[in-house]
Symmetry: C2
Subunit: 222 residues, 2 copies
DNA sequence: ATTATCTATAGATCTATAGATAATGC
DNA sequence: ATTATCTATAGATCTATAGATAATGC
């Protein structure tokens, strides 16, 4: 009854790996992950039964358990895929060379637009990360690492232009401005639970006010 | 096996009422609600078994079901109590007469401090509201009504002082500023899932920067 | 007599496995 | 021969109830 096992997977960088040796194996894993991510995002993880995941992927429950050791492994695989995709998306825009010759308003505008676009293309991913992160320490730290990379990278881009910042304490101001921008975006993206008074204003007007707010707080110099 | 019942409770304003006719009945209900709220806030609702709620309240599972029709009723009772308490707390500070002769910075400072104090005294209430609100439409609308009352009330307090607002569109600016303030606070209060770059700065410094940001964006005139 | 509480357990739901069947690739 | 998939179901967990026992208040 025990499961001594080789205790693999806890030492490697990633907690889940594909072991398929036939092409259809990958297709099934993708279908299961797609189904799981969609159901987790809309109904929540606890409320989603693994049989429903298999059903949504047009596979059997036995096939699901052939690919994933248990429900937790499936959940972590979904989280890994989401975080890996997000990290790939933010990598290029965080490079200083990508913004050579451009100013803080350009950077802020792109940040806001990119965040809005990600949510549209992958609705509800945040819900999954939160639900898992509240229980699993490894997911929580991976998620925080992603947020630190994103917020820290943006802060650095602003500080690279500190000669344009009139605020008496540019370092603190840059961090506060980025925190505020992130918070605003996450509130706007969470259309379900966070009511905002600017729900009916369109993305363009929202972006314009966000830029105006950052500029005013930083006391931006042209 | 059916439960025709008098179909009561769906028409009244509140979905759950105490039916106890002995003093100890109220004490048991309070103990069960306290236990439930604490467990729901720390572990989540789905992850909390009703037997654990009874255990935490030092009551039996049979006693729990004597007071609450089912788990959902218990959850809604907890939510009702949280929202009722929150509504009572914000009522006085939202009255215009409460701020006679005082300016926007005073109002913002009090708003930030009150929000921080509420979270400290009732840790994790937000998690309960979110988890229930994602599934229950009635809780979602009750929660949104609370947020609208809070954010809308604060916006009105700012607009009562529109002669001090230099922003070309004071109505939009007031709503944006309040949205931004709320978002910042909720991010700071959610110490678990929302990493911020100002985590290590204390409440006083955070409050000062929040006021500075609002003032700069609104182009506040003294 | 009524209300509240308890213990014990039925019933429902979900996760995970066993073992048979089908498809793939050397 | 190996890998992938399927059906059927065992086992675990949680919600909810039945029925007995204890406490309260007229």
């Amino acid at each position: 009854m025990d499961d001594p096992g080789p205790a693999e997977g806890t030492s490697g960088p990633r907690r889940w790996e594909s072991h398929g040796r036939q092409p259809r194996s990958q297709a099934t894993q993708d279908a299961l992950l797609d189904s799981a991510e969609a159901l987790f995002a809309s109904a929540g993880i606890d409320a989603t039964a693994v049989t429903d995941v298999a059903l949504g992927a047009k596979r059997s429950i036995g096939s699901l358990y052939h690919h994933f050791q248990n429900k937790e492994t499936l959940v972590l695989a979904v989280v890994d895929r989401v975080l890996r995709d997000l990290e790939a998306v933010i990598e290029t825009p965080l490079k200083p060379s990508h913004w050579h010759g451009l100013g803080i308003p350009d950077i802020v505008r792109n940040y806001v637009q990119t965040a809005l676009a990600i949510e549209r293309s992958r609705p509800g991913y945040k819900r999954i990360l939160v639900e898992v992160g509240l229980h699993d320490a490894q997911t929580l730290s991976a998620y925080k690492r992603f947020r630190r990379r994103l917020d820290g990278g943006l802060t650095q881009l602003l500080l690279d232009r500190r000669e344009n910042i009139g605020h008496p304490d540019p370092d603190t101001a840059a961090r506060f401005a980025v925190d505020q921008l992130s918070a605003m975006l996450w509130a706007r993206l969470d259309r379900v639970m966070t009511p905002t008074q600017l729900e009916d204003c369109d993305d363009e007007a929202f972006t314009a006010e966000a830029i105006a707010s950052v500029n005013a707080y930083l006391r931006l110099r042209e």
